[in-house]
């Protein structure tokens, strides 16, 4: 039978097919969402995109904290009278159907007056009447149709973020002035040597002067600030010659029109600033739906349930949790603080912290650490340390998270601008001295002309356009970088360090091997049926491997949490689980994750689970080994050492049992040897190393979920392309170097006019845009060609 797809979410639904309205659904959740939509005339939802939905998750009690007015108010953008506006982040937003249904929320809840989706940010802005409905009702409604909002501690803190639009304003001002000044300078370009131009030139000139004022003092002010900062720390960055050029242009032009010496260079001045800002704008590509600065806050819940002495519960904000409090943690909730388990059986998934997918079992009295996700039922815990004192959050107090990597890095443009500025100043002084002997009246003229024409507009544009375009090309290839500097740093890498679990291996697939006595069909059937009854992740994985085995009805079933399960079927007794529980005679202790089985207390064998390595790991290492130093740093034990030594090229360093701090130190010690380190990791345990490395790339199976702070996020499916991406960045740097040469040619032509004392405003007005535009065209075309190659 051909596998059928769920009409709502697109999952294959072979096991439990639900038919409704001649459509197939994989589960009751999906069916319910369809029912909600069809009752409200919203089935249009399924027309824009096939299977657009998501399975609604179990949310019972999860959003009770929104009843707490103080917490709910923090999430609101706006609240006045009975109108409230809230912006919610919904990771599932992915297609036009999503936009459509979310903007029709008012059909599902009439108290919602409007809702607006911001697709790139995956956010929906809901306006509603707070007298008749609450934020909680809206969140529950969204969750019930499969659009569960993601509310984290980060939302509580950031509040309303002001959007920085200053660059757009500046670009607008410069563009506006540029256009008008161009238009006003036309009469004098054509040099109508008549009565008319003599009469009106002053009007045109002063108008140009006034248009250029906001350009110099508002739009261009960043260049002066940056040049000043550079000079103060004794760096000749690219903004020094630019600021020099802008000020000389402005002063000379103003002097010229005051003393009626000429038209001035207002056209070149405004054009220069406009093109420079255009470059900055292009460079500023941001991935709104990704965050590169995440810390534990975006992962922590906003509130938890506290148990009061009198058996009452209340929702408290997480920062208000104190030592000695008792907390109630429900299924799928996160442990926010360190504590002791009081009641219930904990099954904790620490994959965010350690990268290890295997859940850890804890019993009452055990110490539990913040960051784990509870997987089985409700537990009670006593708090040992507040949020800021917990182990996980203290990881963030390390210095590496405080300093800004970018400020230390000298870009290729800064490097060339140092030589460039010195040479230009030299030429200016030499030619001025020369003219002092020939014609004193022209000396100052030549000096300023050299500084004007040598203003490195084209050089300043080369890197933003080339790297900005690379950023976009990488983004299309699912490799998202934080900013353009990362591309440059990537090109300089000579050492690559990989994390093992979650990076070289994948959580998605497991390789299971059986070691022991062969099982007969009867035993297999009992085993499979027992696994079916268990909720443990390992049981689930093991169950899926017995495809062709019949299942039996099991009645006598006992699960001992953290140990295993025991089943009695007719005369057969089956035990499976941890080694100690099954009491096997297998004395060989292994480091792998295994499930042991015994029938009627006779040990049969064990199933060993191994994370399978991603496809192409071996090829990737082989292709990288000639150009880079390679290392694998793992927090795991040495269980995989032999396998890795056999499969990875010789010379690859293998380090095991590395704690998060150790990983950071490994990176730091390599950097001391002047190596440029690329760290590729995935979990919070790599966060320190990612921050310390020159380029930290987080590998992610799903880019919308949590990833630690990093410079770039790589989709796991593109893992084997890392080598190609580094090569492409190197080529991009080559392209920038070629465009430097090109723009130097323009500078030489311009300098010829300047040094010989015949620089007319019209020549400057032609040369400057011409050089800028040809650089933009050159870099864009060549990086696009490069982008086609890496596809």
């Amino acid at each position: 039978m051909k596998s059928k797809q769920c009409y709502h979410c697109g999952d294959s639904c072979d096991d439990d097919l639900i038919k409704f309205n001649e459509k197939t659904f994989c589960c009751n959740g999906c069916k319910t969402v369809y029912e909600i939509f069809s009752e409200n005339d919203l089935t249009c939802y399924y027309n824009f995109q096939d299977n657009p939905g998501a399975i609604p998750t179990e949310i019972q009690g999860k959003y009770d904290f929104l009843d707490n007015k103080e917490i709910a108010d923090k999430l609101l953008d706006f609240s006045d009278g009975n109108t409230q506006i809230a912006t919610l982040y919904i990771p599932h937003i992915h297609c036009s159907s999503c936009i459509w249904v979310l903007e029709n929320l008012h059909k599902l809840n009439p108290k919602v007056s409007s809702s607006q989706v911001d697709f790139p940010k995956k956010k929906v802005r809901v306006t509603y009447n707070s007298d008749e409905t609450t934020l909680k009702e809206i969140v529950l409604l969204l969750s019930s149709i499969g659009y569960e909002p993601y509310i984290s501690l980060e939302d509580y803190e950031s509040g309303k973020k002001a959007v920085d639009r200053s660059l757009i304003y500046k670009l607008g001002v410069a563009g506006f002035a540029f256009g008008n000044v161009m238009f006003l300078s036309f009469p004098e370009y054509f040099q109508v040597d008549g009565f008319w131009i003599e009469h009106y030139k002053n009007v045109f000139r002063w108008l140009m002067f006034f248009f250029s004022l906001p350009v110099v003092f508002y739009a261009g002010k960043d260049y002066f600030i940056s040049a000043y900062k550079g000079l103060r720390s004794k760096i000749l960055n690219i903004d020094v010659p630019i600021a020099l050029g802008i000020s000389v242009l402005f002063i000379r032009s103003t002097v010229e029109i005051i003393f009626d010496l000429g038209t001035g260079f207002f056209d070149s001045l405004t054009g220069l600033v406009f093109f420079l800002l255009l470059g900055k704008f292009f460079q500023q590509k941001t991935y709104n739906f990704l965050s590169f600065e995440r810390d534990y806050k975006s992962y922590f819940p906003i509130a938890v349930t506290r148990i009061l002495s009198s058996d009452k519960e209340e929702n408290v904000q997480i920062y208000d949790v104190e030592k000695g409090d008792r907390l109630l943690i429900r299924n799928q909730e996160l442990i926010p603080v360190d504590g002791i388990l009081i009641n219930g059986n904990a099954e904790l998934d620490y994959s965010f912290v350690t990268g290890e997918a295997e859940p850890v079992a804890k019993k009452s009295g055990d110490k539990i650490f913040a960051g784990g996700k509870q997987l089985s039922g409700v537990i009670e815990m006593e708090v040992l340390a507040s949020v800021s004192q917990s182990y996980l959050t203290q990881l963030w107090s390390n210095d590496v998270f405080q300093k800004n990597k970018k400020s230390h890095y000298k870009t290729i443009t800064d490097n060339i601008s140092k030589k460039f500025t010195i040479i230009v100043l030299l030429i200016a002084f030499v030619s001025t001295t020369f003219w002092l002997f020939i014609d004193v009246s022209k000396a100052l003229n030549v000096f300023t002309a050299v500084l004007i024409i040598a203003c490195p507009c084209a050089i300043a544009l080369a890197a933003p356009f080339a790297l900005g375009n690379m950023l976009r090309i990488f983004g299309k290839q699912k490799f998202y970088l934080k900013n353009t500097t990362v591309v440059e740093q990537l090109a300089a890498i000579d050492t690559i360090i990989f994390d093992k679990t979650g990076t070289l291996t994948t959580h998605k697939e497991n390789t299971i091997s059986y070691d022991g006595v062969r099982l007969n069909n009867q035993e297999k059937s009992i085993l499979k049926s027992s696994l079916r009854a268990s909720n443990h992740p390992l049981s689930r994985t093991l169950y899926s491997t017995f495809d062709d085995v019949e299942t039996l009805t099991i009645t006598d079933f006992k699960e001992v949490v953290g140990k295993g399960i025991e089943v009695n079927y007719k005369e057969t007794n089956l035990k499976l689980g941890a080694s100690s529980y099954v009491k096997n005679n297998d004395k060989k202790s292994t480091l792998d994750t295994s499930v042991y089985i015994s029938f009627n207390d006779v040990y049969k064998g064990k199933f060993t689970f191994k994370n399978s390595y991603r496809k192409g790991v071996k090829d990737l290492f082989n292709s990288l080994k000639n150009n880079f130093n390679l290392a694998v740093v793992s927090g795991d034990n040495e269980g995989e050492r032999v396998f890795l030594e056999e499969n990875l090229p010789k010379g690859t360093q293998l380090m095991f049992n590395q704690k998060p701090e150790d990983k950071l130190n490994v990176v730091a010690s390599l950097q001391k040897k002047d190596e440029k380190v690329l760290m590729i990791g995935d979990g919070l345990n790599d966060a320190g190393a990612l921050a310390q490395s020159d380029v930290g790339v987080a590998l992610s199976e799903n880019i919308n979920v949590f990833s630690p702070a990093c410079d770039g996020i790589l989709d796991a499916s593109k893992f084997n392309k890392i080598g190609t991406y580094i090569k492409a960045s190197k080529k991009a740097i080559q392209i920038i170097k070629y465009s430097f040469i090109l723009s130097l040619c323009y500078n030489v032509i311009g300098l010829y006019f300047a040094v010989t004392g015949q620089l007319m405003p019209v020549i400057a007005a032609i040369l400057m845009p011409l050089s800028s535009i040809s650089i933009v065209v050159f870099t864009t075309i060549s990086t696009n060609l490069l982008g086609n190659k890496i596809k």
Partner: protein, 78 residues
Amino acid sequence: MSYFLKSNNLNFEVSIIRQDMSVIYLLLTISIIVAILFFIAFIYSVKTGQFDDSYTPSVRMLFDDELVKEKQEKSTLD
């Protein structure tokens, strides 16, 4: 006579320039006012966030049609 003619001619030329002058000032003023109006419109649209999300409106624009179509379909069914 000839003197009179000459001076008259001169007066005529001056008056042309004067008229011309007022026209160029008028044109400059108008063009700059129009430009500034557009500039203010631009600043306003940035300030109200119209440039923040350049993708969703392009999709939203197509929905209204779909909705109308759906309604029409329903009315014909009824």
